[in-house]
Amino acid sequence: MQIDYRAELPGLDCGLCGYPTCDAFAGALQLKPQLLERCTMRSANKQTFTGKVPVPDSPTTLPVVHNKPSVSNGKDPWCDRLGRPFEFYMDVFPGDKGPRETIIPRNPLRTRELEIQPGDLLLGRPSGMSCGCPLTHVGIAERVDAVNGVIDWFITGPLTARQGNPKNIGYYEAIAYDGLIQEKHPNCEIQIGVRYYFQPRRCMMQWRHSGLITFLNQTPHGLQAHAEGLMIG
């Protein structure tokens, strides 16, 4: 049965629905009644308005992830190898070669001197103001900013160095870390602008890190987080 939508439309022929006339719009509604919300001037659309249509999820109020860790390191599942508490695990994105990190060589010119390109195997040690670690890291460059010397890479572990001839960038600063939060402490609410202790899942030392969360995004795989201002311990 056909519904005559013309009676429901204001007859202003204003074009705001995307159709030149109310009659043309009424014809389209026969096929797609859900288009009716496109009529801005229809009084019923105004009267039923509640002012409570949600905007996209705010990164600060994202759904909660699992509260129990799938791994335990002994007495307290929310403590690192040295017994220090942390609030969540930072996991690797599915399909990535390893944890994503943004780094800058202590001498940023090394990026250009070594002609680092995406896909290059790199070797270096985090040091200095951020994220001091006694281990040399090896990884694969993903993106390279030749102007500032900044490199995004996947940390793949020292054994990867066997696969080729890694370019040695020397000491570097770890600027940021990206990962998925799939498991967190039950009392932890994750928000942008807050510094947290977290445990990178693949950290060989199993030491907690800390970082300031500057980005959150809900993905099908978990809560994507970007931490800056990294420190260990």
Binding site: C14, V55, T60, T102, D178, F215, N217, H226
Partner: protein, 393 residues
């Protein structure tokens, strides 16, 4: 598309003057220089041009010509509406209601009136960009003299339920003013049907010249003038009229009225093409405000994770020949501050900094939209070396 050609996507800030408007104005920049108040031929001709423009401006809003008061801007029209309807100092308790997301031309006047004894209520705004008539109803008081709610918001572009809001104001014996600077020429506004007592608009938002606006004052209302002098504009706004500008306003209003529907259909199509394309190419982009109840060529975007990088994004787009704005053009002087409009809509301060406003106009082409869809994802991507994979899942 030729990358050296500029692509202008900021029609809510201002619009290019329609060549037909320039054509109408030109005679009054040459031989038609007369003062409309003069009794001789030059003055009479200028006066006639003024009155023709008045008729055209009135027709855009279903008003009578005698209800049009020409001003020098939309801001002046807003000032005249509020300060003219509520002269200070007030002699009795007086209440005015407005919305927290109004243009500064309203908010600053309200703060001025507040300092001079007027009680002001700033209504909150729903998180999809609307003022709720029920909330207005709850805010009304016996001494509410004026309600001022914009017809369409300048940052998010959402269209307000003006007729319902005006009806609530009238039920309680208050006047209703609407700042229609963004809505004029885009929405079918009729002051009689919609119950509007005072309406402000500006020529340069409808492909007319800058420096000229108007206030529609419903017949029978008395306003106290802000500018005293020779008694032009029925004594409400003294000063020799900007004849060429007013003629331009009139012609722009005439064109807008005649072409509103066809412009809307085209702009809605381009707007939807742009929103769909952005959502497809930039997964962390989201539209702020209701998807459909917005001005036909208006998009307000947030890009999750890059809220703090909006200025860099604008500069990168500018280098690529594309003009868009953040928040509103007026806030470009306060680029470090979060948008008061988005704060009013319930956004936190971080996200309220990061809106990108893309507004299309009469001369926007499909090729320009394609070019924006080509460049914007690249510009967003290039912002991310420091943010690493932020925004990519």
């Amino acid at each position: 598309m030729n990358s050296t050609a500029r692509c202008y996507f900021d029609h809510s800030a201002t619009t290019p003057v329609d060549p037909r408007v320039i054509g109408a104005m030109e005679p009054f920049l040459h031989d038609g220089f007369g003062n409309p108040s003069s009794m001789y031929q030059e003055g009479v001709e200028a006066h006639q041009a003024l009155e023709e423009a008045r008729e055209k401006a009135a027709a855009l809003f279903g008003a009578r010509p005698g209800e049009v008061v020409f001003t020098a801007s939309g801001t002046e029209a807003d000032n005249l509406a509020l300060r003219g309807a509520i002269p200070t100092p007030v002699t009795e308790p007086t209440h005015l209601i407005t919305a927290a997301f109004e243009h500064p031309a309203i908010l600053e006047v309200c703060r001025y009136l507040e300092k001079h004894g007027v009680s002001i209520t700033f209504l909150s705004v729903g998180n999809d960009g609307f003022v709720d008539p029920q909330e207005l109803r709850r805010a009304m008081r016996p001494n509410t003299k004026l309600v001022s709610i914009m017809a369409a918001n300048n940052v998010v572009g959402t269209i307000q339920p003006v007729a319902e809001l005006a009806s609530v104001a009238h039920e309680h014996g208050a006047l209703f003013h609407t700042d229609a600077v963004q809505a004029a020429g885009k929405l079918p506004i009729d002051i009689g049907r919609d119950g509007i007592d005072l309406l402000s608009f500006s020529a340069h938002k409808i492909h007319g010249p800058k420096g000229v606006g108007a206030l529609i004052v419903r017949h029978g209302l008395e306003l106290q003038p802000l500018i005293l002098g020779g008694g032009q504009e029925r004594g409400i706004r003294s000063g020799t009229e900007n004849v060429a500008g007013i003629v331009g306003l009139g012609r722009a209003a005439e064109i807008a009225r005649a072409e509103m529907a066809q412009d809307s259909v085209r702009l809605v199509s381009l707007r939807d093409q742009l929103i769909d394309g952005i959502e497809e190419r930039i997964p962390n982009a989201y539209v702020i405000g209701h998807r459909f109840r917005r001005l036909p060529g208006h998009i307000c975007l947030g890009i999750s994770g890059l809220e703090g990088e909006t200025v860099k994004l604008l500069l990168a787009l500018n280098q690529a020949g594309i003009a868009v704005s953040t928040g509103s053009a007026c806030s470009s002087h306060h680029a470090g501050e979060p948008s008061h409009v988005l704060l009013a809509m319930g956004f936190d301060a971080f996200r309220a900094r990061g809106s990108v406003r893309i507004t299309l106009g009469r001369f926007t082409t499909s090729a320009q939209v394609d070019y924006l869809l080509e460049v914007l994802p690249l510009a967003v991507r290039d912002l991310q070396p420091i943010a690493s994979c932020a925004g990519r899942s």
